[in-house]
Symmetry: C2
Subunit: 284 residues, 2 copies
């Protein structure tokens, strides 16, 4: 492995560039970002050796780190531009559609469908962090469809990133992501919107924003350009999750209105079980 090309040098693509350049300074890392400003920042931050719009045909690995609605076309285009010995993978947060669309592509074996469970509410090259992926989970879908030799390069990179690998069916991935990640983003965006709509006087939000509010609303700072495509692409699963959430919220609302102390307590005791799971995560 000598040459890597990264398309999209924002939070994920930029963080990938930083860690790979640090761990393997011998690699040539080329890259591109559609935003001239972001491309300039990425160069200034030393993320890439050279800027170029498309990968050289002899590139070993091409990483696609652009919004999910651009990925399928970009993947097809990239497979057509590169050779038989190039591996392409994407960092998209949805996997069902891209796996389905690329399923019958003659170079399907050159593609690996992955999703790093890592991120922050910030975006762009300046938000990139060298330790973003450290210790996090990398989900790999349909691994059996990727050429075994090409896959080896991906595993080598994920090891440099110090990631834990998990294997999952693309449909199952999208369904669970809807509940655990996409729904969290929606609830944060809507919390931010509700509070802002009500509290025109910003000083009051400031005064009362104890640490609880800040952490619950944090994801409301996330990039609309990244999230609108994810919500739309994963709408079937996300709408199911949101409908379930709204129903729970409505039932809780009615228990508050009825001053149902026991009922509210029971619901909160149920929700408290999330502690065991998160503690398990921390301990691992």
């Amino acid at each position: 492995m000598k040459k890597i090309h990264i398309i999209g040098l924002g939070l994920l693509g930029g963080s990938f560039a930083l860690v790979i350049k640090k761990k393997r300074p011998d690699l040539i890392v080329t890259g591109f970002d559609q935003s001239a400003k972001h491309l300039e920042q990425a160069i200034a931050l030393g993320m890439i050796t050279e800027a170029k719009e498309q990968p050289d045909p002899d590139t070993d690995v091409v990483v696609l780190a652009t919004p999910v609605d651009t990925l399928t076309n970009l993947l097809e285009q990239t497979l057509n531009q590169t050779g038989d010995r190039t591996l392409v993978f994407d960092f998209g947060s949805t996997k069902e559609l891209i796996c389905e669309k690329i399923g019958s592509h003659p170079k399907r074996a050159n593609y690996l469908a992955v999703h790093p469970i890592a991120g922050t509410e910030n975006s762009g090259p300046k938000a990139a962090e060298i330790g973003l992926f450290d210790g996090k989970v990398m989900i790999i879908c349909e691994m059996e469809k990727t050429d075994v030799h090409l896959k080896g390069m991906a595993y080598e990179l994920f090891e440099l990133m110090n990631m834990k690998l998990r294997f999952m069916d693309p449909k199952e991935h999208d369904l669970h992501l809807a509940y655990v990640s996409h729904l969290s983003h929606v609830t944060s965006f809507m919390l931010g919107k509700t509070v802002l709509d009500k509290t025109a006087d910003e000083r009051h939000i400031f005064d009362m924003a104890g640490s609880g509010f800040a952490s619950t609303v944090r994801l409301a700072k996330s990039s609309p350009a990244m999230w609108a495509p994810i919500f739309i692409e994963n709408r079937k699963n996300l709408l199911q999750a949101m409908d379930s959430y709204i129903a729970h919220m409505q039932a809780f609302r009615d228990k508050i209105a009825a001053q149902d102390y026991e009922g509210l307590t029971d619901e909160m005791i149920d929700a408290n079980k999330i502690r065991d799971i998160l503690d398990l995560e921390k301990g691992r």
Copy 2:
């Protein structure tokens, strides 16, 4: 000021004891907790000098740090047990009802209505932290109704705790808290519940719980015994906040179903404004 008594030695009462005993080791700090186990832990943790169910009549300051549904009765009882030169304040998260009920009490001037905007998702004496209040906001309601000399002792304590004072009407306090704090807790509890209901296989939650989910759901670990009374007592304001939130959520849901990229983007750009306010907070 020589003697302080604390009723309720959990997260807030215990943290108060820790910081006060550290900063003013000369003070006698007595205290009580209805839970024998918590009282024992508080003694073991060195929070109080002596356990006693009710304050000595010559106690300078009594702090009430029990669930909000117990506070009004406890406040009346405490005012009856203590002398004319004792100040009583409570740490309750709602202020309208207690201020209203105590308004015509002959010893109203011995009471100061305050609310520290500080907390974590943990509870009990073992969750107490010496720095819990450090740099946080203390909201004071109806300060003009408290005796000016007695109030001085509270200000001295709040300075030892390194808190920033803010003054607010009790009704306004409860309304804004409903939006900024109580709604955040409800959305977290319901997020935890929705995800747990769906994902019976806990391993999947663990795998996908990127940092985003963990921070959004953190408050779902909070104590039902603390929060059921707050939700019920502040139900008028909280139901308004929840209804507004549910309406926003439903509208966002419909935009996802309609694949309305522009509409979703606009809503998220609005919500992004929360960043400016939270950054303002950090910078202050």
